[in-house]
């Protein structure tokens, strides 16, 4: 009986600690839920972006993909993988709205993997457009180096 009472007292202690933690968590949740300012672009991978582009609609994003600057602006795309463009898997791509100057500026990066920063416009993954959306207001395209082999040292 006494043992049972001690167990109940201990349970009450545990319960009060748990309740206290819950109150703290709720308080913290309120502060976490407060509006936060996004400083700089949202860094997101192409797979996440292609899976739920509507989540990033109208937002400044930064992602990595395979760059194709075509012969005309309408052929400019960012692909998940190089192979997706070879196999016409267009939903695995975003159109790129590049200016004439940008097309010249970034031509040297054509057919390489690049980091693109811009604003995503998308109707969602099931949109009727051929690709999954378009990246506009492109601020920057930079080279992505997955592997840079070093020269062997000659002794």
């Amino acid at each position: 009986m006494a043992g049972h009472l001690r167990f109940r007292k201990m349970n009450l202690k545990v319960l009060s600690v748990v309740l206290g933690m819950m109150v703290l968590a709720v308080g913290a949740g309120e502060s976490l839920g407060a509006p936060r300012k996004q400083s700089g672009p949202i860094n997101v991978g192409m797979i996440a972006l292609l899976a739920s582009p509507q989540k990033y609609n109208q937002k400044v994003i930064q992602t990595v993909g395979f760059l194709n600057i075509g012969r005309g602006r309408e052929s400019d795309n960012l692909w998940l993988h190089e192979e997706d463009g070879q196999l016409f898997l267009c939903k695995n791509s975003f159109a790129l709205d590049l200016s004439d100057d940008q097309r010249k500026q970034f031509a040297y990066l054509n057919h390489t993997y690049v980091v693109v920063t811009g604003i995503l416009h998308s109707d969602g993954p099931e949109g009727s457009a051929m690709n999954s959306g378009v990246i506009v207001n492109i601020e920057q395209i930079e080279s992505w180096h997955p592997y840079v082999p070093t020269q062997p040292t000659v002794k």
């Binding site: 194709n68 075509g70 012969r71 005309g72 602006r73 309408e74 052929s75 400019d76 795309n77 692909w79 463009g85 070879q86 196999l87 016409f88 267009c90 791509s93 159109a95 790129l96 709205d97 004439d100 057919h111 416009h121 949109g127 009727s128 457009a129 051929m130 690709n131 378009v134 506009v136």
Partner: protein
């Protein structure tokens, strides 16, 4: 229905679309225009839907409604080109777009494209000619059917 008849209506559609695309380009706006070439189900006459402005770097024709009592027999659009290096005719994306129409709407229709720089109008199909090898193919696709000079 003779291909020549559709070509004739396509030339008129492209003329209307090129005028709008060229007007936008003068303001520094690069936008494609396009629409459907349609046939009246009752009397078989051909016409086209008014050219509609596309988004930034593309036009989604599937968003353009087809009037009741008409059947789609082709599509048309423009390329807002300012230099000769941007090329003539259709690109792999255009051909792939027709493949999408064939897959989703079970329609094997011709497409027409005209670029603002040359004014050349090309007819192409999901079969080419020639067939694009990849989306990175820079060859022109389709057959030239005419030219629309600036107004």
């Amino acid at each position: 229905m003779a291909q020549q008849q559709i070509d004739h209506v396509a030339m008129s559609a492209e003329k209307a679309a090129l005028r709008l695309t060229r007007a936008d380009l003068k303001k520094g706006i690069h936008r494609e225009y396009g629409g459907w070439i349609i046939q009246n189900n009752e009397n078989g006459s051909l016409s086209y839907t008014k050219p509609v402005k596309g988004q930034e770097a593309l036009i989604d024709l599937s968003k353009i409604p087809v009037p009741d009592g008409f059947t789609i027999v082709g599509d048309y659009h423009t390329h807002p080109h300012t230099t000769s290096t941007e090329g003539l005719g259709a690109d792999p994306g255009d051909v792939e777009s027709l493949r999408g129409i064939a897959r989703n709407q079970h329609l094997d229709i011709p497409g027409y494209v005209a670029d603002t720089f040359s004014g050349s109008v090309y007819r192409y199909t999901q079969w080419g000619p020639p067939m694009p090898k990849t989306m990175y193919d820079t060859n022109p696709f389709g057959v030239k059917i005419g030219t629309i000079p600036p107004d």
